[in-house]
């Protein structure tokens, strides 16, 4: 084998490894952030000039056109409270108290971050359309079939899912300590 053959081989290999590494490094999505709160993760650096090239590329892939944190905080969950991956075959209770923000919503996406067709044409719950019980708590069932009672966010059989919690204009108390803020609970009830 001639010398330039070896260089040609490592050139092609280097290009492939470099592209693969770039894709892998920036694939952390919105969970590549620094703040963890139960199953929810976020970064407050989204949508600012200060972010490093890796964060900027990761955000561009996972949440292009995302707003900066003072406007909206985006939390992402890929697991339930026990740490198990969110599974469209299973039934989950998503519950909480009204969040410290001008407006909030929880949206269900597939693993790539896209909406999936479902019979209810429903992909999110928000602060304006959840009902509060006597304790001031709201509760939504995430399951592939409609629950006997209460609000429903359809999961899709055979598909894992991710949740995104958006908090628009989060309150001062929240911004002071997002890692300790009270966020919705995601509890698996059965499969």
């Amino acid at each position: 084998m001639k010398g330039w053959h070896r260089y040609a081989i490592t050139l092609v290999g280097g290009l492939a490894v470099g592209l693969g590494a770039a894709w892998a490094i920036t694939g952390g999505g919105l969970s590549g952030g620094a703040i963890v709160n139960g199953p929810w993760t976020t970064s407050l650096g989204f949508g600012t000039k200060a972010t490093d090239p890796v964060t900027r590329a990761a955000v561009a892939r996972a949440g292009l056109l995302a707003l900066p944190a003072k406007e909206t905080v985006y939390w992402s969950a890929k697991t339930d409270a026990a740490g198990g991956p969110l599974d469209g075959n299973c039934r989950y209770s998503l519950s909480g108290t009204p969040l410290d923000a001008r407006w909030w919503s929880v949206t269900i996406y597939d693993e790539a971050g896209y909406l999936v067709a479902n019979p209810a044409n429903s992909w999110s719950v928000n602060g304006a359309n959840v009902a509060l019980d006597a304790k001031g708590e709201w509760r939504v069932t995430i399951a592939p079939t409609r629950p006997a009672e209460g609000a429903w966010l359809p999961g899709t059989k055979g598909q894992p899912f991710h949740l995104t919690l958006r908090m628009y204009n989060p309150g001062k108390a929240f911004r002071a300590n997002p890692a300790k803020a009270v966020l919705p609970q995601i509890v698996k009830e059965g499969c």
Partner: protein
């Protein structure tokens, strides 16, 4: 095996340089795709998008609670003006993103005092009309996005007329 030391070192350098270049260019590439997808209604004009559904998802993680209006812009022929009319009593915001996906301007309805406002987006050095707020950028291309929150998707019927009062266009008069 010794014959491979030089080529392997070379390959590592190529890999590192490729990774760096790719990471740096990913935002620009994705922004181009977004401009293309959102620019079906034309560049330097406001498109009042339908609500996100599984069939219509021009960008990743669209919120089904938001009515998005978008203006993909090109400043190569001059600055653009964006006029925003907030809907009383509910969250809306204008955000302007440059070609690198960085946010260069954000204002919500509360910050705007609930009143309509106008901004000019211009490259450094471009002449702009006096008396209007100017946002300067180092890139020709980008997207201006207006988000309007809906309590229910059905609300869009009643709010569409107000959101269509927001607009975007090339600045023609400099006075």
């Amino acid at each position: 095996m010794r014959n491979w030391l030089g080529p392997l070192a070379f390959g590592l350098i190529v890999a590192a340089a490729t990774a760096y270049a790719a990471i740096w260019s990913i935002p620009y590439g994705l922004m181009n795709v977004a401009i293309e997808r959102l620019g079906q209604g034309g560049v330097n004009t406001m498109s009042y998008g339908n609500l996100a559904t599984p069939e219509r998802q021009p960008v990743v993680r669209p919120s089904p609670d938001l009515a998005y209006s978008s203006c993909p812009y090109d400043l190569s022929d001059g600055p653009i003006a964006i006029d925003v009319s907030p809907v009383p009593g509910r969250y809306s915001s204008l955000s302007v993103f440059d070609a690198a996906t960085d946010v260069i301007f954000v204002r919500n309805d509360v910050e705007a005092g609930g009143k309509p406002f106008r901004i000019i987006v211009a490259r450094a050095g471009q002449a702009v009309p006096k008396g209007t707020e100017v946002v300067r950028t180092n890139h020709d291309h980008g997207i201006a996005l207006i988000r309007l929150l809906l309590k229910e998707p059905a609300e869009i019927g009643g709010l569409d007329a107000i959101r269509r009062q927001s607009s975007c266009g090339t600045v023609t008069k400099l006075k």
